[in-house]
Symmetry: C2
Subunit: 366 residues, 2 copies
């Protein structure tokens, strides 16, 4: 996969911040910049004014010798590959032979052990970098949007396939396992996160883990799940009611959440502030006196991580831009009784937005 355009963007930021070389230890950032998918690596990227060509060095271990060469060749980036820990590979690197002075490092993903070893080997001061690869990752290119769309469609299809099994009254764990299995058989690399299947009173816990509880007639069931495709995540929540006749209380809550979610989705378009999505959801719930039961944030970005920039909450300063992909997921939770959450993943486009999750929102299992 060609990724060199992403490195070009990063290098511009390095120049602007007077960083000669950035040490990247977050494996997802390394994957984003180079396409390398191994489980052990350190990446060095030089700024344009420090290193015109030979601007990159990837250190990995011998398990990934062949794979790293294939993936770096596909990336179209000018990156040397060295097998071994960065501390022992510096002499061999064209990049470092030039003597970088200002070295930045990813402080949130580098351990003290690595930092100390590298500081000693480089005989330089290394400082936490203000340039964040995550800020580039926030805005997805076409290839990334395609991957999340594909992940979303796998998840949609899998849920449609297994949903009728709810009528067989499986346990929460069994239904979660069926759903994850079906996603895998449809081509997912795995689930985006531990699937939430929360039935009956469990549905009132936003972060419930599946249990041995048998899902039974009259239960609300919150299903929050996603698929991974080419490293990219999908994220979707639907709430169902097991039974032919919705309880009055469930209907009231469901309608309120559905309206709140719809209001949020309508705000999720090019140029809106992320905080406006949050207030659209909360105001809609407030109008029916349910705001206090919406106890978590309204959404988050989705990409190589299932939770990433932008964050959707009342204090968010983000203005939605082309390439943002985010969730809108209000919920109402009545402790010990029931909960309802509805979530879609939305891509911000030149013309407004595209909803990537397409499962119908009826709570009735047909």
């Amino acid at each position: 996969m060609k990724t060199d355009h992403r490195i070009t963007e990063l290098r511009k930021l390095l120049d602007e911040s007077n960083i000669d070389v950035l040490i990247i230890t977050n494996l997802l950032n390394i994957r984003y910049l180079t396409g390398f998918t191994g489980s052990a690596a350190t990446l060095l990227i030089g700024s344009p004014s420090f290193s015109k060509n030979d601007y990159g060095l990837l250190c990995t271990d011998s398990r990934y010798s062949e794979q790293s060469h294939v993936q770096i060749a596909e990336s179209n980036a000018q990156i040397e590959i060295s097998i071994g820990n960065l501390a022992t590979q510096l002499d061999k690197s064209k990049l470092f032979a030039k003597g970088a002075l200002e070295i930045g490092i990813e402080a949130d993903s580098t351990t003290i052990a690595s930092f100390n070893a590298w500081t000693q080997a480089m005989e330089r001061t290394i400082a936490p970098s203000k340039v964040k690869v995550e800020s580039l990752r926030q805005f997805k290119d076409e290839e990334e949007i395609d991957a999340i769309r594909r992940a979303s469609h796998i998840a949609d299809e899998a849920l449609a396939d297994v949903l009728p099994k709810l009528k067989g009254e499986p346990t929460e764990i069994q239904f979660a396992a069926e759903l994850e299995f079906r996603m895998r058989m449809l081509g997912a690399e795995g689930p985006s996160f531990e699937t939430i299947v929360a039935s009956g009173p469990h549905s009132a816990m936003p972060h419930a883990r599946p249990t041995d509880r048998k899902i039974t007639e009259g239960d609300p069931v919150v299903i929050d799940f996603g698929a991974v495709w080419e490293g990219y995540h999908s994220d979707c929540t639907r709430t169902y009611f097991l039974g032919d006749t919705l309880s009055r209380e469930f209907q009231r809550i469901y309608r309120a959440v559905e309206a709140a979610q719809q209001a949020g989705v309508e705000k999720a378009v090019l140029g809106t502030g992320a905080s406006a999505i949050d207030s659209a959801c909360r105001d809609t719930l407030a109008a029916v006196n349910l705001e206090e039961f919406f106890t978590h944030s309204t959404g988050h970005g989705v990409g190589l991580e299932v939770h990433e920039l932008p964050w959707i909450h009342k204090d968010s300063q983000s203005i939605l831009a082309v390439g943002d992909i985010l969730t809108v997921e209000p919920g109402v939770y009545l402790a010990g009784q029931m909960g309802v959450r509805i979530e879609d993943t939305i891509a911000i486009t030149k013309t407004g937005s595209e909803c990537l999750t397409e499962i119908p929102k009826s709570p009735i299992i047909s």
Copy 2:
């Protein structure tokens, strides 16, 4: 789960190393010491001479407020709980009010960002700790051995259940998904690692990932997999041959690996050096001129991580002791043609050893 005996052992080590307080950031170490299973926490443990009672502080976030209180109460340990980042919780802690001078930290799991924030908040020098919780984790107590035995039995039963499906010639990915699904339905929390199903020439790659390749008549199939139970991992490899008549070459390789693995397992008993297991495997293969095709290490410990102490290789200084649980997994890989690996997980006991993985070793699928 009672875990306070583990903290007692750790505190002895702290006294011996003159560490007043150890900052623990590795979540598996925190789980081991306290039973806390949340995804965000920092744990402080004081030495006996620094803090007789009130020797612990667990900082976590608001999602885990209730869970942390339940799990810490069950641990029987004297640990305060504070909701918030360690940097903001020090004033509130009885432990720190006493003014620790020698503070150690886990260098392999602490980020620079956390280290810098905590150094500033504590106004103290914090040094990488030589005391390692991992060295305690190496020796499993009865509860841990039970968990790994249970995980192994789930894995055994799942493979026995799905093995006949190989005859239906699934793809590697489909078979891996079936096996993981079955483990989950039998109560596993998940797979120990990404299941390896490597068929035909793929079997020659020790770290192969499952692909869309259809497993077909005449293929060797390496299946390396495990289940997680209560956080503890199992690890087992079997190699099968799809077809009624084993090829001559497959038989030759299989018999050699089987003999090598058996020789290794016989050495895996109380009081032996880990390096003796390695040489038993390699010498057996050398006797039939296959040693050069065994290209990875012979084994590793298994516990809260699927790879942990002790390491089984020729330079290992470990002498096997009661509570060691380790794998013995020689293989022979003929590039582009075929590979065979056989792996068991062995617990070292007072009387010798117990093999926890019980799947028969016949390569024929009956």
